[in-house]
Symmetry: D4
Subunit: 147 residues, 8 copies
């Protein structure tokens, strides 16, 4: 089963899921999580832009080559919203995945519940912790519940 | 041409676009913009929920009947990000529209430029004002530029 | 908005919805609700069958010309499960509609809640009465809640 | 060839098919057939719900992650209707599979013939026993008929 | 309801259906049924070809502009096989319609039953006469059976 | 029938087709054919760009709102290649239309035959004059050939 | 590259292609070519039918499980029309493959040219011999022409 | 990741990319780049044509078997426009890839910037050198930027 881990890149939630899912028949993909590389990839390869809009535009499109392919290939898209920042790209990915008919799992803290209600409404599961994602993947794949 | 106006519901940007586009061959749709009705529609019709999550869940899904149909029917989806709030539903709609191959126009102030770079990267136009949306619609439909 | 009313054919729930939705910008479709005609249409037009399986087969396929086209054309599919009978065709329609990405509303009494959990899980709304369907359609179309 | 075995979970029909198909180039998938785990998976991982509807809702959606992916991946969907229970999820799966253009095989006893006529009408084969499914798979793959 | 009448062009079966369906809410389309025009349209407009293959090729492609659009637009595709000729274009249209998920009605005499078994297997109805097509359309649209 | 007229914008071939098709049941669409407006629309509405690449980029994307919608809506896409310029947008439109399954008519002079062989290979008709397009539309719609 | 070999089953054309393509990176699939098994498979597994129509119907549908999956999986569909019989299933497969956007190669003798013009018009290549199919596959895969 | 290298065939840009991407998890495909074979493949295998149009037509269609399959299979389509020739097939491929939702990278010199603005507008990256393509692929796959 192919899992795409979208969203927040400032904590180690992806590592926790990958470690927890050790031994399961899953393949994980994610965006580039090196924040500086992700921001500057466009101009680093395709040439500098004096205007910040186009600087960002080149980078965002280059990153989209990776993220669109990964969402298309995914059976399950997990989107995590962290405590900080606007994280509109995470919500964009959730909408993109929903429109493609992907199984959507949303992970966020209770304080974001109301603001994320439309995103949660499109999900097959809403959770708070990486361990819950691991437990779900194990159940979905092997039918076993946490003891 | 069918236009869906998604996103921020606290200013009169939709009214400005509709007024400005008077005379053009366009049909506009939008989400329910009555904030209270939008929040409580689920429980008002389908029964109260003691848990806020399910209260919101029922409402968000009921609103989705309208918004999904409207995005599917749209040729152009305009998504406006205002100054306040998380507005994750706006970014979700943008991702949904992009995945469905809809022409996407994003409207936001300069201060949100970096945070919206992935959303902007999926758009065919990025603008700041309702007048620009009107000008684009007039050009797209009639081929005439603002004088 | 195009609404398909699928499922139970022994009570007047469709009439109640159509009457209640008077004045709304909706078009309703439904299967043939004349039970005898629905059962015998195949052999009546295409010739008798001594084997009940093929008798039913001819009829079910002929009815499918109507129901498939109606589901395809629908924005919203309402599926009602009544108190009696297996009603597997209703659940089949719900699955068909879900796979086609249609907005699904399921209507049933509380006693069927557990048995219909997979069907309800695919729905954007679960309700019990025709009045609730009318209220949802009015809200979805006009944004007004029942007073 | 990828085969999804949907429906009744109280007899060993899946085991019989898997055993009988030994040596054929097939991969079988199925829902979680541990009834208790299937009913409670949602709350076990995602937290308890006082309301039975949401208890079931969480579980049904979590199970849908597995079943939707399995139906999407399948070349053939076999749906068995047993003697007992409403089995609306089986009919839902059949409708879902039909809408996705999957080859559908329906298995049920003669007493359900009339009630399942719409489901049977969407199938490429209707049979009564696991052995018949095995014989069909062998024929479809190898072209050999039972002697 | 949009009906495409494909196949045999040497008898008046289309006229019989159109006349019989008078008063029903249907729109009929058909290929160009002027045999000489259909054969020579390509070279008549696009220039002569010394090689019969390309003469026919130009015409067949020009006719495809009409037939493909008509099948795409159709809810129901009726394909009639007459007594004579190979009629491979009729079987091609049936396959094309089946792959597009169109409701397929096949009309042919009993002597062609075995040769058409694969085509019939993809149909929702198999009949012999234009009157049966009319009766089916009336039933599908209005729910009334022939008296 | 909906016809999109793509490609060369320096001669009056569109006017000839529209005039010739007078009385036929067709709707014509085209790109904005005012060359200056088409080149500068992006910066005129969305703000000036010092870099020619982004100047053109904004314009090309704004024009794409019109052209993509028009190709999607079209039953037939006519692409004309004139004598001058690279006309890569015309070939791009042809590829786009082919991938969307649109009926493609290509119009060009004999001198471009070899260079356009891949584009012609995807077309249902290849012609040289507006009159031929009119003759094809009349035949496709009415079945009548030029006398 | 996945190749489906559809159509005539009375000569060894498939064997010639498979032998000729030895060493190429291709996988071949075909329908069941044992005529008797293909005709009787339905009743042999699913029970006898007194009516020849349903006898054939059961068999044709069972064969469709194999053929539909094979066409879906194919990159190239080769359809051969032999000298005898109606071969409507071959033309049906060609139409089905064309509608699915598969690359279509048609093989037939010169005497069938006119009758197959609509089928040929949907093909990317029309040929007469198995050797030509092998030569095309070698060219398509390796870029080498027959010496 | 599957990469299709479309367009100009007179320089060694493909070799440079393949060599530069050594060690990356990519599979490259390309059209037949032997110009003479590509031009004459149709008649070499399927028989001579006295008319150059059909000579080219046979070849272009045969090449399309390879190129369409390769674009369908690709995650990323790189299209290079060289200094010479019309290269309409390159622009056609770009349009085809865009319509199929493929990630598009366009490579061309600065002198073609204005003429390619519509093609560039559909791309996720526009570059000038094979090294830039290699750098992008490495970043997209491994997240590492050129040092």
């Amino acid at each position: 089963m192919n899992i795409y881990l979208s969203g927040e890149i400032h904590t180690d939630w992806r590592d926790q899921i990958v470690a927890g899912a050790s031994g399961l028949d899953v393949v994980f993909n994610s965006p580039v999580t090196d924040h500086a590389a992700s921001d500057d990839c466009g101009v680093a390869i395709l040439g500098a832009e004096p205007d910040k809009f186009w600087h960002d535009h080149k980078g965002a499109k280059l990153n989209a080559i990776r993220t669109r392919a990964a969402i298309e290939a995914a059976d399950v898209v997990v989107v995590r919203f962290g405590d900080k920042y606007k994280q509109w790209n995470a919500a964009f990915d959730a909408g993109y995945a929903a429109a493609k008919g992907k199984a959507l799992i949303v992970m966020h803290g209770a304080d974001h519940q109301h603001a994320l209600k439309e995103v949660d409404a499109a999900a097959l599961a809403v959770c708070e912790t990486p361990q819950q994602v691991v437990d779900m993947l194990r159940y979905v794949l092997n039918g076993t519940l946490p003891s």
